[in-house]
Symmetry: none
Subunit: 120 residues, 4 copies
Amino acid sequence: MLQIDYRDTRSIYEQVADGIEEMAVRGVYTPDAQLPSVRQLATELSINPNTIQRAYAELEGRGVIYSVKGKGNFISADSEALRQRKICEIGEQVRTLVASARSLGADAKTIESWVEEENK
Amino acid sequence: MLQIDYRDTRSIYEQVADGIEEMAVRGVYTPDAQLPSVRQLATELSINPNTIQRAYAELEGRGVIYSVKGKGNFISADSEALRQRKICEIGEQVRTLVASARSLGADAKTIESWVEEENK
Amino acid sequence: MLQIDYRDTRSIYEQVADGIEEMAVRGVYTPDAQLPSVRQLATELSINPNTIQRAYAELEGRGVIYSVKGKGNFISADSEALRQRKICEIGEQVRTLVASARSLGADAKTIESWVEEENK
Amino acid sequence: MLQIDYRDTRSIYEQVADGIEEMAVRGVYTPDAQLPSVRQLATELSINPNTIQRAYAELEGRGVIYSVKGKGNFISADSEALRQRKICEIGEQVRTLVASARSLGADAKTIESWVEEENK
DNA sequence: GTGGTCTAGACCACG
DNA sequence: GTGGTCTAGACCACT
């Protein structure tokens, strides 16, 4: 289930959007699966429907879901494609960080060790 | 010199704080060196003094500088220590990202390739 | 056969209307040919009859079909006339777009190239 | 000045966004020029500030403007770049329409005549 | 003062 | 019932 953390620096609608994208990437939803309705999710999370609406609009902009008037919101692509895209984004961030660490004089072995720890 | 980019998504005070931390890490300032006064830096950058004040407060919170009432703001530690700390922070972020990529099923070789590209 | 794409940004009734008009223009229906009944088409496409009803109303508004109470819906004109009208509509849109591009300072040759590419 | 037409099928925020983009493309605003504030434009057009806010968010998404918290909204790129992009979009639409007309059996000369009329 | 977010309540189009 | 839009009013962060 989706959890809202009011101490999070991200705004509520971003948390909702990120959370649902996360689940979509994880394959929790099958392609074309219907998401909870705006009003339903709003009452579940005790959040204003407008905020959920905004989160769904954000996800549509990201290409994660598509919406059909009068029917609901649906997962747009298969989780595999979303996963590939997400991994690619992470790679971009890692590259930037590694370059930054290098320019600070970090040891090549140190940097490699970060990866080896997690990457087994 | 410090450059402000109004198109940057970061707020002004964050840009100032990040810029000064960057310089401190790079060794531009010697330990206990005095930073420009709030007013002076404000006029130099054509920015509201309140914004500089906030940037300095942010840096104090990060432990990069310390302030002495009636005297000014000073670099808190030597650049070497700051550099180590910064590298450590980057390492933490990289580890998190790598772990995240792994849990998404990213190939170990793919992840290593991110690092190898930049790490030479 | 008519195909409904729920990912299409157009609403269902618009897709149905456009699809039938397309077939009429292509000459799939002879003039005064009877269209499937609202209920029949609804069950065929697994769609609410109200939606089909609205699509037919839309087509009547466009002058593509006419309805006779108690009898059904029929193609209003021959495909040749429909085709001419459709082409004329497209021409109107192209003229508007070209004028718009011109006023933005687009090169005459550039604009001609758009047409030449497709128009062989 | 910007005009809102309540009979327009487009929503209000879209009309505002399109209108401002139009002006930006036309070079009415110089690069980095400040747009009217959300509240000011709202009162000018007798529209809710939230709606203007949404229009500005839309424009930021399109890359037409950028916003700085506490300062305002500003034109992001030079009008020349925007104009090129816009012309390119129009070209795409024209190509689609021409292809469609061709498939309906429209005469090549007829299609060319559409362009010639406007393109002098 | 500025933009950004959230809530509450309402209306419309679509199915 | 669904999503989409708009209004009104409020609060926060930033300058």
